[in-house]
Amino acid sequence: MATEKILMPQLGESVTEGTIGRWLVSVGDKVDKYDPIAEVTTDKVNSEVPTSFQGTIKELIAEEGETLQVGEVICLIEVEGASEAPTKEQHPPAQQEVATSQTASLNEDQSMKKRYSPAVLRLAQEHNIDLEHVEGTGKSGRITRKDVQKLIAEGGVTPSEATTAPQASQTAPTVANSETQKITSSGSITAAQGDTEIPITGVRRAIANNMLKSKHEAPHAWTMMEVDVTNLVNYRNALKNEFKAKEGFSLTFLPFFIKATVEALREFPRMNSMWAGDKIIEKKDINISIAVATEEALYVPVIKQADELSIKGIGRSVNDLAQKVRSNKLSAEDMQGGTFTVNNTGSFGSILSQPIINYPQAAILSVESIVKRPVIMEGGMIAARDMVNLCLSLDHRILDGLIAGRFLARVKEKLEKMSAETTSIY
């Protein structure tokens, strides 16, 4: 004895369901093949459903008035003579075995481990991820976009960089330093015996990437002006001891230079702008990035709204930020939002430098060493004057020489006028 199913038949094109109007048989009735067993109504036709088997009605599954999808079981019939059909039950286990063995082999297969999709490559480049160290969860060990996104969400660094500061890749320090340009991902340079290999930290790599990005993307132009700061030097030297005693920190030359720069930036807003691909954005706020060196790296913290500060206020900000860098307390916030960079290369004794622009800013100004030089003054007299070189690198996409030249000349003019009579530090 076997049980057969009678299904809801399809009673016309577009008909996908039918309603049992009336059962013409009851449980236990004997039926011959093709005997009508139920009336079915649809939107289009009403019809009698015949049985496809000879046998005894075992169970009426659908109730009168119930609507069923085409292909659903409406009743069961016990068919005499037929043996239980065993065929179907035996197949699934075999198939399952095949499936599981396939899954097992898939997990071991790493043939797709190094086959990177465009999305994975892009993310790895943007976030500086070494794909060699990433676990792939895709087919045959492939690294998926989600794998990389997950890694970025969890901190964005590969195992080899895991010990470095997590903020490093986002808030990148940058400054003129020719050494950084040599760092590439190329593995073709090998160390000889006796050489020291220094692993690349996250900060180092961030510096390298930002330098590279700035040099690659921004066509750099460079100009320099020399400035006579004799009056300024006299002024500051007259103030410095009293200032230190009163305020508790040293009054250096840098705040004066920053002051002259921010005043000039207000007059030349294009210098305080950014390249944004399809447009140039002139920034409303004047936030000055300054370079602060440690043994390992250079950081570029930001003096926010520097145009609203006095020379003393700028001096305090410079001092505070330098302290934070040295005590390793710099926050990501401290390094964000810079719109123009002033770089104090003079502190190393340099008299000439060619800074790399702090991407995506428009320009960077280097203040070199103040040195005493003989200068031919008006009237032909030679005098010993305090001279300083100001070096400006500019993004030639945003700026041409004209604006940059006028800007620099304005900074020069302001600095040369700075003295006790014209300038208050408060």
């Binding site: 094109e13 577009s14 996908t16 289009k44 465009p118 999305a119 895709g138 998926t144 976009r145």
Partner: protein, 327 residues
């Protein structure tokens, strides 16, 4: 909100538009007394009379041609092709006249004509009652092709088509007519032609499709969710011109894209969708763009196993989605 079938939404939209605007009228084979072979116009002849629900001879070129002329004259005809397969004699009228009249007359003449046609297989209709014909019309600027998947979309888009001042080919999946039910408000509303719709939000894979396959994808997505696979499903709704912005957004979201059509694979709508993604999303793609489509054979077979082989079904969609998710 009342639940209605796909075909009830068609009838409702037609009735509301005919009540709203007396310039709207229907013409086609058996649309009047018979109420349409699928019953899409049931009751309209009784309500609006023979002047506004007109039975035509078996001449599709004339159904389209009369519709175009009447539309140019200021009415808003809704022409029915009994089956989309029968539209071929009307292609010249639709492509050469309806699609181009506005352009050719420098905006002096417009053709506010809607042509409705049931398409698609899976109903044992075989050769003359199962074809997908959208790609024939899908490079004719001036024409719009709308292929809704849900009763809600049917009502909103059919009303928008009737009100459109340019010709719209409105293709209804005949298997969806009574299979697909959904909430359809009684209120008057339209939906924008040319806008795709996200039918399900997801993170792992993106499925872009239209018509009945949207439901197959939604069913498969439910099952796959239990396995931890999250599918994002975009319903194109208008297949020409395509909603490029929505396609780019959906494809970029997951980087793994499966495109589905019931039509023959080569030269189908999804080939164009694939090109849009390739042009705009290369650096977001995490897998080759996949296509699931009917085979490139001349017609839908009649024999049930062969029809099953040809047709897209939930099982095929589910397998394709899972395979892409695992890539």
């Amino acid at each position: 909100m009342p639940v209605r079938s796909y075909i009830e939404a068609v009838t409702l939209a037609l009735r509301e538009e005919m009540q709203r605007d007396e310039n709207v009228f229907i013409l086609g084979e058996d649309v009047g007394v018979r109420g349409g072979v699928f019953r899409a116009t049931a009751g309209l002849f009784e309500q609006f009379g023979e002047a506004r629900v007109m039975d035509t001879p078996l001449t599709e070129s004339a159904i389209a041609g009369v519709g175009i002329g009447a539309a140019m004259y200021g009415t808003r005809p809704v022409a029915e092709m009994q089956f989309a397969d029968f539209i071929l004699p009307a292609v010249n009228q639709i492509i050469s006249e309806a699609a181009k009249t506005r352009y050719r007359s420098n905006n002096d003449w417009t053709v506010p004509l809607t042509i409705r046609a049931p398409y698609g297989g899976g109903v044992h209709g075989a050769l003359y009652h199962s074809q997908s014909i959208e790609s024939i019309f899908a490079n004719q600027p001036g024409l719009k092709i709308v292929m809704p998947s849900t009763p809600y979309d049917v009502k909103g888009l059919l009303k928008a088509a009737v009100r459109s001042n340019d010709p719209v080919l409105f293709l209804e999946h005949k298997r969806a007519y009574r299979l697909i039910k959904g909430e359809v408000p009684d209120e008057d509303y339209t939906l924008p032609i040319g806008k795709a719709d996200v039918k399900r939000e997801g993170e792992d894979i993106t499925v872009i499709t239209y018509g009945l396959a949207v439901h197959f994808a939604l069913q498969a997505a439910e099952k796959l969710a239990e396995e931890g696979i999250s599918a994002h499903i975009l319903d194109l709704r208008t297949v020409y011109p395509l909603d490029q912005e929505a396609i780019i957004e959906a494809a970029s979201k997951t980087g793994k894209v499966l495109l589905i059509t019931e039509d023959n694979k080569e030269g189908s709508i999804i080939g164009e969708v694939s090109a849009i993604i390739a042009e705009h999303c290369l650096f977001d793609l995490d897998a080759p763009i996949r296509r699931l489509a009917g085979p490139d054979i001349p017609a839908m077979p009649y024999a049930p196993p062969m029809e099953k082989f040809f047709m897209i079904n939930p099982e095929k969609v589910e397998n394709a989605m899972r395979d892409l998710a695992e890539f």
